[in-house]
């Protein structure tokens, strides 16, 4: 029994060392991870950034199409440079960050997966949840697997990095964000750009 457990443990270690899915933590110690949002408005487009990203992605460089994971953005970290606009954005009419503190995206599947060297492009379909409204969205994503590069970013750690870039659009009306109101002032469509890096220490 002990021998079987040892063999099983050795096999698990072997799988982790020589392949298989790796868990990448997207809580960025460098604070670079960000989600930029942009929407049209009469005087100027509204540009803002959310920086508090967390969650994990399971990615296998040998089988990128099997990617899974869940990413969260702290809604209160959404920032726009105009203070009144920020107050409205985070207030009850718009995102109501006090009641709905998190925006989540959970990966369901990946399609049209193309890998070239350490980069993979794919159409990732997942469940996007904003204000407790969940919609299935498909996001064109580029993964870049940086093997052994974690130490270049965090010298005290050895491991790999996974960079994730994506751009897609959602309609705020789909998620009950001040739905059907003020579209003459703020467009219904919101463009989101993801620039994220996750780390997998060994």
């Amino acid at each position: 029994m002990v021998k079987q457990a040892l063999i099983f443990g050795w096999l698990l270690c072997g799988a982790a060392a020589f392949g298989g899915s790796q868990n990448f933590d997207f809580k960025d110690p460098k604070g670079v991870n960000n989600v930029v949002f942009k929407t049209d408005a009469p005087l100027e487009s509204i540009n803002g950034t959310a920086t508090e990203v967390s969650g994990a992605v399971q990615f296998d460089p040998a089988d990128p199409g099997a990617v899974k994971g869940k990413l969260m953005v702290a809604a209160a970290s959404l920032h726009v440079p105009n203070p009144l606009m920020k107050e409205h954005l985070q207030g009850p009419m718009w995102l109501d960050v006090a009641k709905y503190p998190s925006i989540t995206f959970e990966v369901v599947s990946a399609a049209k997966v193309v890998t070239k060297e350490n980069s993979t492009t794919a159409e990732v379909t997942g469940n996007l949840t904003i204000k407790e409204v969940t919609k299935k969205v498909t996001v064109p994503v580029k993964f870049t697997y940086l093997e052994g590069k974690l130490k270049d970013r965090v010298p005290s750690l050895k491991g790999d990095l996974l960079v994730l870039r994506g751009k897609f659009a959602v309609k705020r009306s789909d998620f009950g964000i001040n739905a059907g109101k003020g579209e003459d002032k703020v467009a219904d469509e919101i463009e989101l750009t993801l620039s994220l890096a996750g780390q997998s220490p060994r």
Partner: protein
């Protein structure tokens, strides 16, 4: 009094335009922070950090113009002295 108010209104218009121009001539809304890009050479990602800085927009400029117009308007109701 009327003359002084009109001079004050005109100076207000000039000061508002000069201040607005010197602080960036921002043709958008007033901002209290400005985005700055930081590059991560390992991941090649660009992050965004916000620096606290006051940048008056056309809303503030328009407010200053209205205020000066108001002062000019009040001056018209006063006697010549």
């Amino acid at each position: 009094m009327r003359r002084r108010l009109r001079i004050a209104a005109l100076l207000g218009v000039v000061a508002a335009f000069v201040g607005w121009g010197l602080l960036g001539a921002n043709r958008g809304w007033t901002k209290t922070s400005v985005a700055r890009t930081v590059h991560d050479s390992v991941t090649e990602l660009d992050g965004v950090v916000y620096d606290s800085r006051f940048v008056p927009g056309v809303d503030l400029l328009a407010g200053a113009m209205l205020l000066c117009a108001g002062v000019w308007g009040v001056s018209g109701r006063l006697g010549k002295r």
